[in-house]
């Protein structure tokens, strides 16, 4: 990892469990990192969430999306939870999402990606 990515990881891993996907969407998901979902779902919870709100795959963990849906309304970006987030660009793993945000690299989508806002 480059120095900036190392700093980002040092800050975000302990707080958000950041996985360094390099295309951060935390603010739009109630400051809950969707990459902690074992299925890495970026658009909402799967249908397997347990009745107690815990994860189908890791019963000891609360579902990332149960938390996201709970927390999102308390953030200034509440409406963004309804956004349809594009597929992960797997080339960006372990790069700094801060740098990718500034260069708008994280907004680059495949040409066939068109969805209703």
């Amino acid at each position: 990892m480059k120095p900036l990515a190392l700093i980002e990881a040092a800050v975000k891993k302990p707080v958000f469990g950041c996985q360094m996907c390099g295309q951060c969407v935390l603010h739009s998901t109630g400051m809950t990192c969707p990459m902690n979902c074992p299925k890495s779902l970026r658009n909402g919870p799967c249908g397997g969430v347990r009745p107690d709100g815990h994860c189908e795959v890791k019963p000891e963990m609360r579902c990332v999306w149960v938390k996201a849906v709970e927390r999102a309304p308390k953030t200034p970006w509440a409406h963004e939870i309804a956004d349809i987030r594009k597929p992960v660009d797997n080339r960006l793993w372990n790069t700094s999402s801060w740098a990718n945000l500034l260069t708008k690299r994280d907004k680059v989508a495949p040409k066939g990606w068109r969805v209703e806002a």
Binding site: P45, G48, P51, A82, G112, E116
Partner: protein, 312 residues
Amino acid sequence: MSRLEEAIAAGRFIVTAELLTINAGGLDAVHRHFEPFEDFVDAVNATDNTAAHAHASPLAVAIALKQLGMEPVMQLVCRDRNRLALQAEIAGAALHGIENICCLTGDDVTAGDEPEARRVFDLDSIQLLAVAESMRKGRYLSGRRLDPPPHLFLGAVENPQAPPVHHRVDRALKKVRAGARFLQLQVVFDIDPLMSFMIEAGQKGLAERAAILPSICLVRSPGALRFIDERVPGISVPEDVIERCERAADPEAECFDVACELADAARSLPGVRGLHLISFRKEAGIARLCARLGIPTREERETIGNGSRVAV
């Protein structure tokens, strides 16, 4: 236009059913699985490695269904294939005239008999729908052209019962925005969560934008109900339902009654356009349920008339 799309567009009451998994036995095996209920259904779902167990692929089974004169709904889950493989399946399906494609997240590999497998989830179900919708309009995800664009009729699944329940209609709306035109809901054994879901679906316009089909599951024994409650991700069975079946003089008949009552309640909910039926019973459970509820056969539904909803 697929037969399912046509039936939905005409406002007819829809019945779809799940095909039990196929592992061997050629086309005969496929036919045996849907033969008991073929008169009642508009389409049959070819599942994609259900509960993370390997089976004959949904594309192969969908082709088999088509060859046997049955309308397939090809399910695709995100667990086992990356975005290239998923698009290849869709293009391949279209090549064979398979238009109905139902996009799901999929149970995790840990739910299956090969929990050591690598999970993929390169796309999530909403992204998969958006990619399929893009293909329908003539573009792969990369932007490369498909010419002519394939006829596709896209669907999805939503679980009215799993937390966060107050987010489920919103998530289903995302699926509709991404391209879903029909929704086969996850199985419920309790009418209350389904009722809440349908009320919200009506308020938020979901029921207008997609044909919603609640799923009803037929089982043989209270033991099966308990198994589903404990082991199947995302489905719970109320304790009083299990106890009612256990206490009954004829538990198998009681399980059937429970399913019929649920199906009857589900089809009367506002916004419900039909039913998706799943039976783990070998004999003609689905046909019996349709007969018990007075649901006409598919041919009868088609001749009763287009445009108006069939009173069942």
